[in-house]
């Protein structure tokens, strides 16, 4: 079972925090911090698995993480999950985000926190992997989006706003996200971090 899914940036600012096991608020924050420090210490060229920190249950739990440009995606799982399987699940999740947001970047995660949560809900439900098929996930999200449109243009506005922002040419930063093997190049939005 997946115990928690944490996304934070290179500075440890949480971008998505989802626990499937109950921890008190303070502990949740500590776990995010602890996990961040555990992950930060590690180079990019060493393995993507870690033993959970003391707060989340020690060696019984594995932290499986991927680092994409400015963001760390960390899944905390128990022994019933396959490490490599989860590693690919993270990839699926990020690719799905990319599809839904058209070139995802850290900004999307901030301004569409709710939407990211909905996408995540289609992938992992209550700690169990629900769907791993990207097309299926996207289809679900699109069904929800249609609903959104039918509800009226107002709420759709922020989405357009951000996509507009993304299309602005900020001179210094490359904006393409390349879902290659491992590295998504997310713009380095220095003013936001």
């Amino acid at each position: 079972m997946i115990q928690a899914i944490l996304v934070f940036n290179n500075h440890g600012k949480p971008r998505l925090v989802r626990f499937y096991q109950r921890f008190p608020e303070e502990i949740q924050q500590q776990i995010v911090r602890e996990t961040f420090h555990l992950v930060l210490k590690r180079d990019d060229n060493i393995c993507n698995f870690l033993e959970g920190g003391s707060l989340i249950g020690g060696p019984e739990y594995k932290l499986i993480y991927r680092h994409y440009a400015t963001l760390y995606f960390v899944f905390c799982v128990d022994s019933s999950e396959s490490e490599l399987g989860i590693l690919d699940l993270i990839q699926v999740f990020v690719e799905t985000l990319d599809k839904c947001f058209e070139n995802v970047c850290e900004l999307d995660l901030i301004f569409h926190m709710d939407k990211v949560h909905y996408i995540l809900q289609e992938v992992v439900m209550g700690g169990m992997v629900l769907e791993t098929n990207m097309n299926e996930i996207v289809a679900q999200i699109e069904a929800q989006n249609r609903l959104e449109k039918s509800e009226g243009g107002l709420s759709a506005a922020p989405a357009r706003a951000v996509s507009a922002v993304k299309n602005i040419n900020l001179p210094e930063i490359p904006r393409n996200i390349n879902i290659g093997d491992l590295n998504i190049k997310v713009p380095n939005l220095s003013q936001f971090v």
Partner: protein, 971 residues
């Protein structure tokens, strides 16, 4: 930046519409017009934590005002909720919004509802009281015709749902299993799984529906049901063996590419599904040949198909290997799996290497040669920059440790230990080192030094068993008395050196061990006075950083030493110092010491030298007062009532309102767990003096196995013959009444195996040879795990009185102590063999003949067995599932009080009467010897008690007891 925030705060929902203004940095600014945007910008621009906090607090108070204002529309509420979620994610308390989140989920339209549900699932937890308010909404939404609403309701149910409200939604969700949309069915399955997790008894009746889900025409639903099956099979594999065929068929279809292409991931068909299925098969096939045979084909196929070079195929391969090694072995598959492991280990990809090591660790017990093949890789991994890889490597080495490679492996572990800071890593590693050191230590110096390292690094975080075991080991010694003395002497010397070092702080536990060892074994140094060590202990006692618990240990050591040298100024000073101490415990100790010093004879008898592992019999039942009590009773004194009985009576007299439910009276429920006050005995511990017993009471208190003299009705009349020998026992420490058996000759240490490993560090090749020595070549494949085929240096003496945890051994302790007091060793041999079904009962095994001993193969190798207390035991391992067989030899020291066999048997039966037992049956006999047996059923094990008695008056030199294999037994 705060001006921007303010600007955005004043601007309200209409701002969304401004987003068209695009172009240049100014446009960027303007388009972040949602208030969340403003908040985020505000936060990210801040430089200090303090400012962030201020900003968020301000934001929260604004939100608070907004959400509670009656004019706030649901749409605005939705916007507020997202901001609240953001604040909560950053760790700020937004509890005022919880109720509004629930309201939003109740009242909003679809979009608002969605936000409401999300907020609820993020804010609340299963036991939150507000959650009850949501139940109605969930029920309503589950009945909705709108698919999205149903989906949302199912999602929330699977995230958080109050356990006691499950019945309210259960039928609705069950209905959803028949829904026409597969996504609904799938979510319903997962929701039911969640119920199974939090309240298994509530979903018991729908197991049949899970089976239906498994056969669902949609793959997604089937995959979802695998979560449930994985869990249930893990809990109880035998109940689902009939499904093996189905799982195999499913896997075959998946592997064979029968699924729609949609399910492919990087052209691998449904990899996660395969992983899940392989795990399930692994669980089902474990130790079950017939079931395993069903899956050989499909596993072979999986191994063959998974050859693409993508991450996820490796995931499948890894699971395959794991499954192949979990199920009943098949050589072809094992071969292929071993090849796969090789691929993993040799892979340049670090993730795969890690998994390869993990797989190696897993299979090493079945196939040690595999480690030999990859020894060079393992050596490289030992110096890998990634600490995780290193740790996994150490784990692997831990499993292949034997007497030959112990020094190298432990050295590597200690190196790692010194680098790591994580507490749980230290605890874990320290435990392993201590275990290995105890098992395989090559010599005394090495052992003591390793343990010193363990104590100084592990300090106060390590498991308390480690120092306890260490002290017991020293106290009880091994086969050879001079060897024991040397070890003790070495320990004393090394501690004295350690204490000489200035300005070093040792962990409290380490100091405690030191003080105990110095107190017990300082005399081995053969110095006239212990002045030197007393000075050191005194210095420690005056040290402020030493905890008061440690001080108690220190003063106990001083007390012991004082008995050897009574005219010491230091002791004088110490007594003066501490008799006025504010610490009452220390004051007590100091006074005890003071008074003991005045009576040297008493002190010597109370603190005998090197008697730490002698048993101390404390007559906790105070039976020597029996006469007095009887006299008082006859003179009309009221019988003693235990505390609880008095309270009970008081309560009944007071006639207060009874708040207890009927039928739950105090006597039956409230106090059943409580023992009568007489049932306390100071457990046999390694301590041999009063100062020590005080400290060790915590682990020495034994609340069972003592006769009940005092019951609720007061004093219980004596049972004939039962209390007899107890009353005779004087309440002072006496020579151990229980003889050691089976001790002398267990297995000779093979010291020839101790390697000279000093030069081996330079080359890895050599390192490898030292690490992997003793592996594989002798083909000692042992399926029973890491068995003790290698002789242990520090083999514990088998001691009957070694009752580490008093509660488990109480029953047989009684029996054996009875043996010892009621029969004479030269005439009768009582063999008390017990077969313990339960491996958990390891505690009982301490006195067991060694596991290696009963192994038939090692039995033939070891001639020394014959010396085993003058009797030969030959038995087949199949009889004793975990090789625990115990022999008790009655003591010689006590007088022969019961001579004939019948009375012995009768009293034996009486001793064990509280357990179910069979009658005493005479198995065979002739003129001189008769053998009888009976069984005792305890909660967790079955004891076979064999008693051999000598009917003639002649002395028996030896007795051979041969136990045939189990098949013969049945007849």
């Amino acid at each position: 930046m705060s001006d921007i925030v303010e600007k955005t705060l004043t601007a309200l929902p209409g701002l969304f519409l401004q987003n068209q203004s695009v172009g240049g940095p100014a446009g960027v600014k303007a388009s972040f017009s949602s208030r969340l945007g403003g908040l985020v910008r505000g936060i990210t621009a801040l430089t200090s934590k303090h400012e962030e906090e201020k900003l968020i607090q301000q934001e929260l108070s604004n939100l608070k005002a907004t959400v509670s204002a009656p004019a706030t529309t649901l749409k605005m509420m939705k916007e507020c909720m997202v901001r609240l979620i953001y604040c909560e994610m950053l760790g700020y308390d937004a509890s005022f919004g919880y109720i509004h989140a629930i309201k939003l989920a109740q009242q909003g339209n679809l979009l608002e509802k969605r936000v409401g549900y999300l907020a609820v699932s993020l804010f609340l937890h299963e036991n939150h009281e507000l959650l009850l308010l949501l139940v109605n909404t969930v029920v309503k939404d589950l009945q909705s015709t709108n698919l999205v609403e149903v989906c949302m309701a199912l999602t929330i149910v699977s995230q958080i749902f109050p356990r006691e409200m499950i019945p309210a939604v259960l039928p609705l969700i069950e209905d959803k299993l028949q829904h026409s949309k597969e996504i609904i069915r799938r979510k319903a399955v997962l929701a039911l799984y969640k119920f199974h997790l939090i309240a298994p008894n509530q979903v018991q009746h729908i197991h049949i529906k899970f089976r239906k889900a498994l056969c669902d025409r949609d793959v997604g639903v089937m995959a979802a049901s695998l979560h449930i099956y994985f869990r249930m099979i893990k809990e109880n594999p035998s109940a689902y063996k009939d499904l093996t065929g189905s799982f195999v068929t499913i896997l075959k279809q998946v592997v064979g590419g029968k699924l729609p292409v949609d399910f492919n991931y990087h052209s691998v068909p449904a990899p996660w599904l395969q992983i899940q299925l392989l795990r399930i098969l692994g669980l089902l096939g474990k130790d079950d040949q017939r079931t395993s045979e069903l899956m050989y084909d499909v596993l072979d196929e999986s191994l063959r198909r998974a050859e693409l070079n993508h991450n996820v195929t490796y995931a499948i391969l890894f699971e395959c290997v794991h499954t192949v090694y979990s199920i009943y072995p098949k050589s072809e598959l094992l071969e292929k799996a071993a090849k796969c492991i090789g691929k993993f280990v040799l892979s340049p990809k670090i993730n795969l290497k890690y998994l390869g090591l993990k797989a190696l660790t897993y299979v090493i017990q079945q196939d040690p040669t595999l480690a030999l093949q990859h020894q060079m890789t393992i050596i490289e991994c030992l110096d890998h920059p990634d600490p995780i890889i290193k740790r996994e490597t150490l784990e692997l080495l831990y499993r292949i440790t034997n007497a030959q490679n112990i020094t190298v492996i432990v050295q590597k572990m200690l190196e790692y230990l010194h680098q790591s800071k994580e507490e749980y890593i230290i605890v874990n590693l320290v435990g392993k080192i201590a275990e290995l050191a105890e098992k395989y230590a090559p010599d005394n110096a090495w052992f003591i030094q390793t343990m010193n390292a363990v104590f100084s690094v592990g300090g106060d975080v390590m498991h308390p068993d480690i120092p306890n075991n260490f002290m017991r080991l020293l106290a009880e010694g091994f086969d050879d008395e001079t060897e024991d003395q040397q070890l003790r002497l070495y320990a004393v010397q090394s501690y004295l050196t350690l204490l000489d070092v200035e300005n070093v702080f040792y962990p409290q536990k380490f100091l405690q061990v030191m003080s105990w060892v110095l107190g017990e074994y300082y005399y081995l140094l053969d110095k006239d006075t212990p002045e030197e060590v007393l000075t050191k202990l005194y210095k420690l006692l005056m040290n402020a950083s030493v905890s008061s618990e440690t001080k108690a240990w220190l003063i106990a050591a001083v007390t012991k030493l004082t008995s050897q040298a009574h005219s010491s100024n230091i002791v004088e000073r110490l007594i003066q110092e501490f008799t006025i101490s504010l610490d009452t415990c220390m004051r007590q100790h100091a006074f005890e010491l003071k008074h003991l010093r005045e009576n040297v004879e008493l002190m010597k008898s109370l603190l005998p030298v090197d008697k730490s592992c002698e048993d101390m019999v404390v007559d906790a039942s105070l039976s020597f007062l029996d006469g007095f009590v009887a006299e008082e009773l006859s003179q009309g004194a009221a019988p003693y009532k235990p505390h609880h009985q008095r309270q009970e009576e008081k309560l009944s007299q007071e006639k207060v309102l009874n708040f207890e439910p009927y039928g739950l009276s105090f006597s039956s429920s409230g106090f059943t767990g409580r023992q009568s006050p007489a049932g306390i005995s100071l457990g046999s511990d390694i301590s041999g003096n009063s100062a020590e017993t005080g400290l060790k009471e915590t682990n020495g208190l034994k609340l069972e196995g003592i006769k009940k003299l005092w019951g609720k009705e007061g004093y219980l009349p004596k049972k004939e013959g039962k209390t007899g020998d107890e009353t005779e026992a004087p309440p002072v420490p006496q020579e151990s009444i229980i003889m050691e058996t089976v001790d002398q000759t267990l297995i000779k240490k093979d010291q020839c195996q101790v390697l000279t490993q000093s030069k081996e560090e330079k080359e890895k090749q050599l390192l490898a040879s030292s690490l992997f020595v003793g592996l594989g070549s002798e083909s000692t494949v042992n399926l029973l795990g890491k068995a003790d085929t290698v002789s242990h240096k520090f083999r514990r003496k088998s001691k009957i009185k070694e009752t580490k945890s008093g509660e488990t051994t109480s029953a047989h302790n009684r029996t054996c102590s009875y043996f010892s007091s009621s029969s004479n060793a030269t005439y009768e041999d009582g063999y008390y063999l017990d077969t313990l079904q339960d491996r958990g009962d390891k505690e009982l095994n301490k006195l067991s003949l060694n596991s290696g001993l009963l192994d038939s193969e090692s039995l033939t190798e070891l001639p020394s067995v014959e010396k085993l207390s003058n009797c030969k035991l030959s038995s087949s391992p199949s009889l004793f599932t975990d090789n625990s067989m115990e022999g008790f030899q009655p003591s010689q020291s006590t007088a022969l009080s019961v001579a004939n066999e019948t009375s012995l048997a009768a009293s034996l039966l009486e001793e064990t009467s509280e357990h179910m037992h069979s009658d005493l049956v005479e198995v065979c006999h002739n003129e001189t010897i008769s053998l009888s047996s009976f069984k005792i059923w305890k909660d967790d094990c079955l004891f076979m008690v064999w008693s051999v008695s000598n009917k003639s008056g002649l002395e028996l030199e030896s007795a051979d007891l041969e136990i045939a294999p189990a098949e013969n037994f049945k007849g």
